[in-house]
C-alpha cells in the first residue's frame, strides 16, 4: 500500500451533486479538498447524471419558474409523499435552506431553463437544469476544478479508519494500486446501494435478480456499509427502495429516464398468467407511477405486461423501445408467450365491465369499470381497436432509503446518540432522514445540494479547528 504524502482538510467520497456541492463549499471556505469518485470519468456523478431538476422553495416566480412555491407548501408536499416518515425539524430546515440554493447553485455556474415538455405540472415547483443532470454535473466539476478541488476517478474507497466516531484515513484503490489518504474531515456523499444486487437479495431474495437498476452501476453502497459497520446510526427502512415499472427490455443498469412508461393508466396490466392484479386507473400517473415497481415485483417472475389498443398509442410520452404490436389479442398473447385463452378472457371481462363515460386523459375522468375485481377507476375504455400493443415491464429501482443519520450540520450521528467529531453525509446516503418513504420529483437533488453545501462548509470549519 502506498501512503499518500498529501494530507487534505476534507476528503469527499462520491462524485454526484451532493459530493460536488460539498467539495465546492468546503473549498470556498478555504479547505483543501480531495474528491474520490469510484466511477470512470464518463459515468461520474452517480444518479445525478440522470436527474433533470431540483425542487427548491421560492417566494415569487422567476425567469424559469412560473410561480411561488412556499416553504409551507413544500413541507405539505413532503409530508404527503412520505406519509409522515420524515424528521420534521430536519426537513423544515432543509426546505428553508433550499430557498438560498436557487442562487447558490447558479453562482456555481449551473443554468436553469423552463420545465421540459411533458412536465408542465412541475413548472412552478421545480427548477430544470439546462441540458439535464449531466450538464449540471459538468458545470459543477469545472467550477470545483477551477477552485482547486482535486478529483480522482475510478478511485474506490475500500476501507475507512474510524475510531469512536472520529475519521482518520481512507484506503482506496486506483489504477490497480491501493492508497491511503488522511484528512481532517470526511464527507460521505456516495449514494445508496441499489446497484448492489447481492445486498438487495438480502431483503428481496431471488426476486432481486429480476430487478433493473435505472441509474449508476457504481452505487454499490460500499461507503454506507463501512459507516454502519463503524458505529454510525442508520436511518430509513433497509428493505425499501424506490421502484417504478420500466420497460423489461432496458439494460440491467443505467437505462435512465428513457425506459420509463407512462401508459399504465391508458391500458390494463396483466401478469405472466394473463391476469390483472391492480387498479391501473387509481389516480393520475404522477401520483401512482412509483407504486408499480413494487406491484410488479410482487408478481411471478417479476414481470408484467401493459396492454392497450390503437386508440391510446399517442396519448403518452414516447419511450426508447417501440411497443410490441399484433393484429389480434390472440396474436399479441403469442408474441408475449402468454396463454391466449386467458388473455382473451381477461380483455373480454374488462371490456364487459367498462361503463360509458367522458374520457379525459389529463384528469380523473368518469370512465370506470363496474363489477370488476380489481376495478379500473378511471380512464377505463374498451380495448378493441386493432392493432393491439404491449409493453413488458419489470421493477426498475431508482434508489434505496437506508442511510446514515445526520443532524442539521449534516454531521453524522453515532449509534450511541453522540455526534461524530469530523464525519458528515450528504445526498442519497442520508436521504432517509427526510425522505423515509415515497418520493417527489426533484427532492433527491434538494437533499443533495442543501446538505452537500452544509456538509462541505461544516467539514471545512471542522478541519480548521
Amino acid at each position: 500500500m502506498s501512503e499518500s504524502r498529501k494530507q487534505y482538510d476534507v476528503l469527499v467520497a462520491g462524485g454526484g451533486n451532493a459530493a460536488l456541492c460539498a467539495a465546492i463549499s468546503a473549498r470556498r471556505a478555504g479547505a483543501s479538498v480531495l474528491v474520490l469518485e469510484a466511477a470512470p470519468k464518463f459515468f461520474r456523478g452517480g444518479n445525478s447524471r440522470h436527474t433533470r431538476n431540483m425542487r427548491l422553495a421560492h417566494d415569487s416566480a422567476t425567469k424559469t419558474l412560473t410561480g411561488p412555491y412556499t416553504e409551507e407548501e413544500f413541507w405539505d408536499d413532503l409530508l404527503r409523499v412520505t406519509g409522515g416518515k420524515t424528521d420534521e425539524d430536519l426537513a423544515r430546515f432543509m426546505i428553508r435552506e433550499s430557498k438560498e440554493m436557487l442562487n447558490w447553485i447558479a453562482e456555481q455556474g449551473v443554468r436553469f431553463q423552463p420545465s421540459l415538455g411533458g412536465t408542465l405540472s412541475l413548472g412552478r415547483t421545480n427548477s430544470f437544469f439546462l441540458g439535464g443532470g449531466r450538464a449540471m454535473l459538468n458545470t459543477l466539476y469545472r467550477t470545483a476544478e477551477s477552485l482547486g478541488v482535486e478529483v480522482h476517478y475510478e478511485a474506490e474507497i475500500v476501507a475507512l479508519k474510524i475510531e469512536d466516531g472520529h475519521f482518520h484515513a481512507a484506503t482506496f484503490t486506483e489504477g490497480g494500486r491501493t492508497h491511503s489518504v488522511h484528512a481532517a474531515a470526511f464527507v460521505a456523499a456516495a449514494g445508496g446501494f441499489e446497484a448492489n444486487i447481492p445486498w438487495l437479495k438480502e431483503y428481496w431474495g431471488d426476486a432481486a435478480e429480476n430487478f433493473l437498476i435505472r441509474g449508476s452501476p457504481y452505487n454499490r453502497g460500499t461507503i454506507l456499509k463501512l459507516l454502519l459497520a463503524n458505529g454510525v446510526q442508520e436511518v430509513g427502512d433497509p428493505t425499501q427502495c424506490h421502484a417504478v415499472a420500466i420497460d423489461a427490455r432496458a439494460p440491467r443498469f443505467d437505462g435512465g429516464i428513457i425506459t420509463r412508461l407512462d401508459c399504465v393508466v391508458f391500458g390494463i396490466v396483466v401478469n405472466k398468467e394473463g391476469k390483472r392484479f391492480y387498479d391501473e386507473g387509481e389516480d393520475v400517473w404522477p401520483k401512482r407511477y412509483a407504486i408499480w415497481g413494487r406491484l410488479v415485483a410482487g408478481q411471478p417472475d417479476q414481470i408484467a405486461y401493459i396492454i392497450f389498443d390503437a386508440s391510446s398509442l399517442t396519448l403518452f410520452m414516447p419511450s426508447l423501445f417501440p411497443p410490441i404490436a399484433a393484429p389480434t389479442i390472440r396474436a399479441l398473447a403469442g408474441e408475449l408467450s402468454l396463454d391466449p385463452d386467458v388473455l382473451e378472457e381477461t380483455i373480454a371481462g374488462f371490456n364487459a365491465a367498462v361503463r360509458p363515460g367522458f374520457f379525459n386523459p389529463t384528469e380523473l375522468d368518469d370512465c370506470r369499470t363496474e363489477g370488476l375485481v380489481p376495478p379500473k377507476s378511471h380512464w377505463a375504455r374498451r380495448i378493441g381497436t386493432a392493432p393491439f400493443y404491449a409493453y413488458p415491464v419489470r421493477p426498475g429501482i431508482t434508489f434505496t432509503y437506508l442511510g446514515t443519520r445526520v443532524n442539521r450540520d449534516a454531521r453524522m450521528v453515532m449509534r450511541s446518540g453522540a455526534t461524530a467529531s469530523n464525519m458528515f453525509a450528504a445526498g442519497e446516503i442520508m436521504a432517509g432522514n427526510v425522505l423515509g418513504r415515497g418520493y417527489a420529483a426533484g427532492v433527491g437533488m434538494t437533499i443533495g445540494s442543501v446538505f452537500g453545501r452544509i456538509a462541505g462548509r461544516e467539514a471545512a470549519r471542522n478541519a480548521r479547528n
Binding site: L116, G118, G131, G132, A135, N138, P251, I258, T314
Partner: protein, 370 residues
Amino acid sequence: MHGTNALAEADRMMTVCNSCRYCEGLCAVFPAMEKRRIFADGDLDYLANLCHGCGACYYDCQFSPPHEFNVDVPRTFARVRAESYARYAWPGALSSLFARNGRAVSIAAAVSMILFLAGFALFDGRSFLSSHEGAGAFYVLMPHVAMAWLFGAAFVGALAALWVGLAKFWRYTDERSKMPVTAGLLLQAARDAARLRYLDGGGSGCMNEGERPDDRRVLFHHFTFYGFLLCFAATCVATLYHYGLGREAPYAWDSLPVLLGSVGGVGLVFGAGGLLVAKLRRTPELQEQETRSMDLVFVAMLMLTGGSGLTLLVFRATPAMGPLLAIHLGAVLALFVTMPYGKFVHGLFRFAALVRYAGEAATPGEAGSS
C-alpha cells in the same frame, strides 16, 4: 425503412432523444423533434440541417459514448446533412462531386486558375507580365465584356443549381406538413440565421475541442458570412459603377467598391481562417471524418478568394498584377462553379430548416401527424 445507414442511425437517435428531452433548451433541434413521433427521411434531413453542430448536447447527454445507447447527435447529423446536400443536388449527375469533395473542389480551383493564367498569357503575353495603371487596367488582360459574360454565366448557373436543390430539399422535407412560406417566417429565419441564434448551446456555449464551452465559431462565422456579403456588395457596386456611371476598375483605395471589398476580404480571411483552425482542432468525437474534407476545402476556398483579392489590391500597380488577377479570378470562378456541390449549400438548407422551424413553432401540436 430508411434511405441510408446514417438516416437509420439518426432515427434511432431521435427515438432515444424524444424519450428523454433533457436537451430541449439547447437549440431548435429538440423542440422540433418533440413535434414528431415518427422520423421519416424528410424529417431527419430537416432536423439534421436545423442542427448547427454546437456540440453541447453531446457533452450534456448521459447516453453518449461510451454508454451503450451510443448517442452522438452532432456527428450523426453532420453525416445526414452531408448526405442531404448530395441527395438534393441538381443536376443529380453532379451529386457525386460530394464524395471526396475536397479533391473535387481543389481540382476545380487549380484548373480554373491555370486556365486564367494560360488564357492571359496566350491572349497577350507581354501585357500579362507588365504593370498597368489607370481605368480599365484589368481589361487589358481580359476584356470586360468577356469577364462579365463568364462570371455572369457562372453565377447564374450556380444560382439556378442552388435554387433547384433548395426547392427539392424543401419539397421533400415538406411532404407531411405542406407549409406555406410567408414573409413572417422568412423574416424570423433571417433573424435567427443572422445571429446564429442556435449556435450557443442555449446560452451555455458550444463545445469544439472537448467538454469545456471553448467554441468561438460564432465569431468566426460572423466574420466569414458578413465578409462574404461585403465582398458581394463590392462586386454589385462595382457593376453599377461600370454600367451606370461609366467608371472602370480598378477603383481608388477610398472608393466604395474597394472599401467594401477590402473590409469584406479581411473578414473572409480572418473568419474562414478561424473556422479552419477550429475545424482542425475539433475533437474527433464531434467530427464526421467522411465530410471533413468538404468542410475544410470550403473555408480554404473562401480564404483563397479573400486573400487573393487583397493581394491583388496591394500589388495591382506592379507587374505581378497579371498573375494575381488570374489567380483571384480563378478562385472566384471555382468558388461560383462549385457552390452548389459543396459546403456552401449548408447555408441555404439551414435557412430553409429555420423557416420550417419558425412555421412549426407557430403551430401547436405535433407536426405533420397524419
